[in-house]
């Protein structure tokens, strides 16, 4: 099953792909500590939607395992009020491995 590092790499790749579709002034950092969801998150509501759809598709392509994130309240799945690239990857890795 995918390691947390592999998921983190995939998460950053999806964020980089989102950046490619944005004007230069609107692009955001993709390092592991970047808050992406919740308080202080760099993604707006459309960005969050693009991100979770991008993650679902990328996970299925990379690991052949479907994962559903878009059909539920994503923030409700997290205990923290701010989700970083790394904490999102850890959450997803845990979900894929259980």
């Amino acid at each position: 099953m995918p390691s947390p590092d592999a998921i983190e790499e995939l998460t950053r790749a999806v964020l980089a792909r989102l950046n490619d579709d944005l004007p230069a002034a609107d692009r955001f950092p993709t390092d592991p500590s970047t808050p992406i969801l919740g308080d202080g998150g760099v993604l707006d509501s459309l960005g969050v939607a693009n991100f979770i759809v991008g993650m679902e598709e990328a996970v299925e392509r990379a690991f052949g395992a479907p994962v559903s994130l878009s059909d539920q309240d994503l923030m409700g799945l997290f205990a923290e009020s701010t989700v970083t690239v790394r904490s999102f990857a850890a959450f997803l890795s845990n979900r894929l491995n259980t």
């Binding site: 490619d20 004007p23 939607a49 693009n50 679902e56 878009s70």
Partner: protein
């Protein structure tokens, strides 16, 4: 891309914010992009905008036609009512076209994955047949409205493949398509807009060996080239040549830059029975052992066209890199190593879109060949004045009329270098000027002993002010620049202002990245300069150049 920056408003019944972001990320974007409120197509198109605004109107057919909506839910549709609903939409678009600079209208799409049984394509009741009829009906209704440009969205969906439609994004954000579709749409939209503002490719410079034919003519001999016959590569080269010939008929010029013995290459072009292109199809040829970058630059100089209008095709990556380095504005597409893909590669390039076909477009090769003869004749004369007199140039000026309207509108849209303001008049604005004696427009045709350059110049005046005439437009095709036609246009402007009782003529130059040739004329014209405004007192005559004959037609005679 244009001298006057315009707005592009995205109007849709679905969420186009992702598309807007992709457009805003493009460095060559000619517009400020904004998104109209979601699903307010009628309101957004009914609000009169400024004529500097263009609209990109992307709708779903089920929002235009309730009958089509019924059909999607497996109810039998009433096709005649569906077409009446399309009529209502067409009426809205035509009204909007009067108020906007341009409308861009992607074709409707149905999801190919939706299945409606064996009769889905039946003329009377089939869902997919109904959509095809609606689309065709809309095309027929909009035919002739020249500032509505329909865009082929099928290509965008094919580009995106099976992930073109995104149900996830639809339910989360009301965005039906993935960003791959929007990327392809942005490519297409910018290509069409570029063509409309004079940035289409006008010249293709071609290598010969393993580009226009298979093999090395100097080694193999023309009889042994792969060209036509029962040979996959030979067939593909013939198809490529046919495509190039077709582009030439649409006004794209062809030239050769090849490292070869000239006589050997010309023999192949003349004698090979399967050659589609012959020597007369090329406006210029550099067949020698010189550097290709320098040779392409030489051709561009000879034809006096902008490097951004030029494409270079060569199978050799080293030569492609050389031309890219030497001439960064020239388009050098990556070329496949597999010869069977040459024709498709050329045909898929989004750089040849054309809007209004004009007589001048299809005659472009002939016109430039005449120009080459004209330039060659220059060496026979010791001074420019004598040479210009020897050309026997005749300039014919006449008020804008219906017969010349399409060409004048096209020339406004495509001329960048000799253009006072680079303002792109909409068709409606231009028609309004035809009926307004205070804002006259004249067209200029130019011919000489080498050929007829056709309608190549436009002069516009505003006579509203009591004491002055303002030159609103001074536009001249680069193909006749430097032959005193531009000075003749100033002469006409000033003579007409005096005739209208004006004390002075003003020209307000609006600089762009490309229109310095117009500034150069104003600087050498003798008009008095204050900033970007140039003035002439009509008490003084502005002499007509003596090297050409001016024929005035219509009321200004």
């Amino acid at each position: 891309m244009e001298g006057v920056r315009r707005d592009l408003v995205l109007v849709s019944d679905f969420n186009l914010t992702n598309f807007a972001n992709i457009l805003r990320g493009r460095s060559d974007l000619p517009w400020e992009v904004r998104v109209a409120p979601l699903d307010q197509v009628v309101t957004s198109l009914s609000d009169p905008p400024s004529t500097k605004t263009s609209a990109f109107v992307w709708t779903r057919p089920e929002r235009i036609s309730t009958e089509y909506q019924k059909a999607l839910l497996y109810q039998p549709p009433d096709a005649s009512r569906a077409l009446a609903e399309v009529d209502a939409f067409a009426d809205l678009l035509q009204r909007a076209a009067q108020q906007h600079h341009a409308l861009y209208l992607p074709t409707w799409q149905a999801r190919a994955s939706d299945r409606f049984g064996a009769r889905e394509l039946d003329h009377a009741t089939g869902v997919h047949a109904l959509l095809a009829r609606m689309d065709l009906h809309l095309a027929e209704r909009l035919d002739g409205t020249t500032n509505i440009h329909r865009l082929n969205s099928t290509r965008w969906l094919q580009h995106a493949g099976e992930n073109a439609w995104s149900d996830r994004l639809w339910y989360l954000t009301k965005t039906p398509f993935s960003n791959a579709v929007f990327q392809a749409a942005a490519d297409d939209l910018l290509a069409v807009a570029g063509q409309l503002t004079g940035h289409a490719i006008k010249l293709i410079v071609l290598d010969l060996d393993d580009t226009l034919w298979g093999g090395i003519v100097g080694d193999d001999g023309w009889e042994n080239l792969h060209l036509g016959g029962h040979d996959p590569a030979g067939e593909s080269f013939v198809d490529l040549q046919r495509t190039l010939k077709g582009l030439k008929e649409r006004g794209v010029m062809l030239a050769i830059a090849s490292k070869n013995e000239r006589s050997t290459a010309l023999e192949a072009i003349a004698k090979h029975p399967e050659m589609v292109l012959r020597e007369s199809d090329f406006v210029a040829m550099r067949i020698d052992w010189n550097d290709k970058g320098a040779n392409v630059a030489d051709i561009i100089r000879e034809l006096n066209i902008g490097a951004r209008s030029v494409m270079f095709i060569d199978d050799n990556p080293v030569e492609r890199a050389r031309v890219r380095e030497f001439l960064p504005d020239v388009l050098v597409p990556e070329w496949p190593s597999n010869k069977l893909l040459y024709d498709r590669t050329l045909r898929s390039l989004p750089v040849f879109d054309l809007d209004t076909r004009s007589r001048e477009d299809s005659r472009r090769t002939e016109l430039y060949l005449a120009e080459a003869e004209r330039v060659r004749s220059r060496v026979d004369h010791t001074d420019v004045e004598t040479w210009l007199r020897s050309l026997g140039t005749v300039v014919e000026a006449k008020p804008l009329n219906d017969a010349d309207f399409a060409r004048v509108h096209q020339l406004f849209g495509k001329t960048n270098q000799f253009n006072l303001t680079t303002y792109r008049w909409t068709e409606k604005e231009l028609r309004d000027r035809m009926d307004d004696p205070q804002r006259p427009v004249w067209s200029f045709r130019v011919r000489d002993r080498f050929g007829d350059a056709g309608l190549t110049g436009i002069l516009g005046l505003d006579l509203h002010a009591p004491d002055k005439a303002v030159i609103t437009d001074l536009v001249l095709s680069c193909r006749v620049l430097g032959r005193k036609v531009e000075e003749t246009m100033l002469h006409v402007a000033i003579a007409q202002a005096r005739r209208a009782g004006k004390e002075r003529v003003e020209a307000h130059y609006l600089p762009t990245a490309k229109n310095k040739p117009c500034l150069d004329l104003l600087l050498r014209s003798g008009l008095q300069r204050t900033g970007d405004t140039f003035t002439w007192d009509t008490a003084r005559t502005y002499e007509q150049p003596g090297t050409l004959e001016l024929v005035m037609a219509g009321p200004i005679a």
